[in-house]
Symmetry: C2
Subunit: 484 residues, 2 copies
Amino acid sequence: MDSLKQSGINVRKDASFSDWYIQVVLKTELADYAPVKGLIVLRPYGYSIWETIRSILDKRFKETDHQNGFMPVLIPESLLSREEEHFEGFTPEVFWVTKTGNNELSEKLALRPTSETLAYPIFSRWISSYRDLPMKINFWNSALRAEIKSTKPFVRTSEFLWQEGHTVHATEKEAEQEVMLILEIYRELIEDHLSIPLLRGFKSDKEKFVGAKYTMTLEGLMADGKALQMGTSHHLGQNFSKPFEIRYLGRDNQQHFAWQTSWGVSWRLIGALIMVHGDDKGLVLPPRIAPIQVVVVPIFRDKDAKWIISKANEIAYDLKKSDIRVYVDHREEYTAGWKFNEWETKGIPLRINVGMRDIENDQAELVRRDTSEKSFVKRAILTESAISILEQIQNNLFLRAKRQLEDNISEASNYDTLKSILDKKGGFVSAGWCGDQRCEGIIKQETGADIRLIPFEGQDASASKVCIYCSKPSKKTAIFARAY
Amino acid sequence: MDSLKQSGINVRKDASFSDWYIQVVLKTELADYAPVKGLIVLRPYGYSIWETIRSILDKRFKETDHQNGFMPVLIPESLLSREEEHFEGFTPEVFWVTKTGNNELSEKLALRPTSETLAYPIFSRWISSYRDLPMKINFWNSALRAEIKSTKPFVRTSEFLWQEGHTVHATEKEAEQEVMLILEIYRELIEDHLSIPLLRGFKSDKEKFVGAKYTMTLEGLMADGKALQMGTSHHLGQNFSKPFEIRYLGRDNQQHFAWQTSWGVSWRLIGALIMVHGDDKGLVLPPRIAPIQVVVVPIFRDKDAKWIISKANEIAYDLKKSDIRVYVDHREEYTAGWKFNEWETKGIPLRINVGMRDIENDQAELVRRDTSEKSFVKRAILTESAISILEQIQNNLFLRAKRQLEDNISEASNYDTLKSILDKKGGFVSAGWCGDQRCEGIIKQETGADIRLIPFEGQDASASKVCIYCSKPSKKTAIFARAY
């Protein structure tokens, strides 16, 4: 038995957020450190959460006519450098393969930081006519970006699991619709399944994907008041189709450059789950994303073990019939109390305890992870009660996080207020912005906060504001925050 | 529209097997070449076959208490070299990362050729007591081995998709059972789903996995008479648990080194599907592995298009209710003849044509891909007929391949016969072997054939034989073949 497992989380979330975070990651057996600095391994419990995220997204991608494919991890330097801005953005953090066996390579190979530059020359071979469009391909893989700054499991690691979608369209309008469709699919996943409320908007030109025409983003708020970018969807315009020569013959019998998008979410979402919902006892998982939604713990002594375990199995069987992911913990080498602790630490939404007295009373005890609330429920209505409580947990987690988000969106009308809010309270701060990258840069340098997004909503009001830094007329309402 | 798509396969399978193979790979849009030599990309059609293989295996792994995890692709040289034999086996083909950005790394990092040396020091941290065992973890990832010899899509590429399972057990017996269980799961997948008959046995010490105690293998026969290793399952003994210090506290309160296994299959299985079942028209997919099992082609002119397409949709709807994977090809920009060709090339097991005359006669036309047989079937019994024909196709492909395999297993009682069979006919040749690696090595050097396996069956008879090379008493019956 892992020695870490023997002790629960022993740092309070509000006492030392980052120590608490690391303890949750390690002690709930989500992940562990790999031997190379900045890299982590995903343990089965962590991977099963990723599998759930993956299956939700994969289904939606397929329903909206996307297909999966595979591209190798190695990209020749000459391709990576073909789109200049893109190359400059990524090269500082590229892992370079320079040898195979004992042989020096004539051209060094990058480990994929993202696949645009590898995929697009290949797409250009596959596309020749309007009949081949739209082409919508997704890759479930990992990306590699050497992190020199501080690393953090799930949030900032030198290799991370993600999906990257790449689409090619005949018209700009279709590409714009695609970017929006994907943003909505991500929002559904994050708000409706992960119970994490979001702000939606555009990235500023400074913060957008290098090489994109524009980037749309979903931003979440972590419990320590820092923002986390949860998913991005990029309209690439023709910025890549031109250097990579993705052209098609139109119905008009003319050659046209195609319009493109790319988009991705990563296992960073698991980090967000921890930071948003976790508490002093450990992880708290929203039911829709939990690999195990209900754990049934039979409470027995040696002589009645068989009987009580069989009752627990019956309860589990009924729940399974209603498509609930359930696990019966009938291990004999651990005490019931030890099991309660373990499942609480791991964030299982609902626990059902079944002891001899419960069986005699034709009931079971239900314990909610989110509120610690306990209730005794009659066996006859156990399944429907469990279903209803799981829904309540799902909603409660979302509403709790939404209150937290709303309480932490402030408005600032002058630079001093902005700085003071960031220092005292953190969270998101909405303010007017002239649109100049110089102001944006100075604010970031002086306060550590950057423009997280230019929100879709509320831009009408920005005309009446002034830039928070230079006081010139405001062009946009921007939302600033310190971020991971 | 891809120019390759416009023309069908134009090389006969028996005329130039390897040109035919490449044409099938490219023209059916399974895969394409990546810019780095030896690497391929998987197009959506190829990836969907891999997804089907993956989902079959993943279900079986989970049913047998395996869990998935993730390990990074980068392995420090010092770890890779900790098991000496293993290291020597893999280093010639390792891709080495020596830089990130512009910085030289102090220790070079290998791209995973396989994950034993990365995973096992981590497993050693996770395991401390018998309660933590067995630990059975699988990784769905890719492995990288620089191929300097000739490469071939799916069969020999420098990066390949695969799964690698790694298990740790308290006793040698459990490890032996695990190796056998996995071999059986692989056999089920390959024989029952891919319709490819197999030989089962042990690898010789020369050919086993470097570092393993022994390797069990499944070997298939390709249509050109060459063998292909389809899946391997390794009993690692304590060869890795000792250098990597995987120890557990037993019920006896003593420390013990654990027993381990590792095992894998790769996308090579897609190569085998092509080589075993394909024909002059292209791919032929067994129904259980086909991403699309039935394609419904409505045959229409402009004026009746709507009506006929709606009838085709109804047929598809009924098939879907019976869990058949079906696709209605109602594209208007292609002729029916063009569609027939495309789906035949892609190997869809069953095609259903629906034209106006068929609707008038309350029937549809069914066309089998494996035999080209056509039949008209009444609408009322269409679904059950389709199900029954799909089963027939599945069986027919297996039986056809099994005859092919059986016709190409020969016996040789002396070295000249062995050489002559290998030159004239190819296939598998069974012969006595003294067990000496010297004989094995000379045979390989002189004939190009190695010991593919020491079959489970028929070893009783080997005592009465002599070694095919040195004529000393035979210790084993070995099966030789030239192989991919």
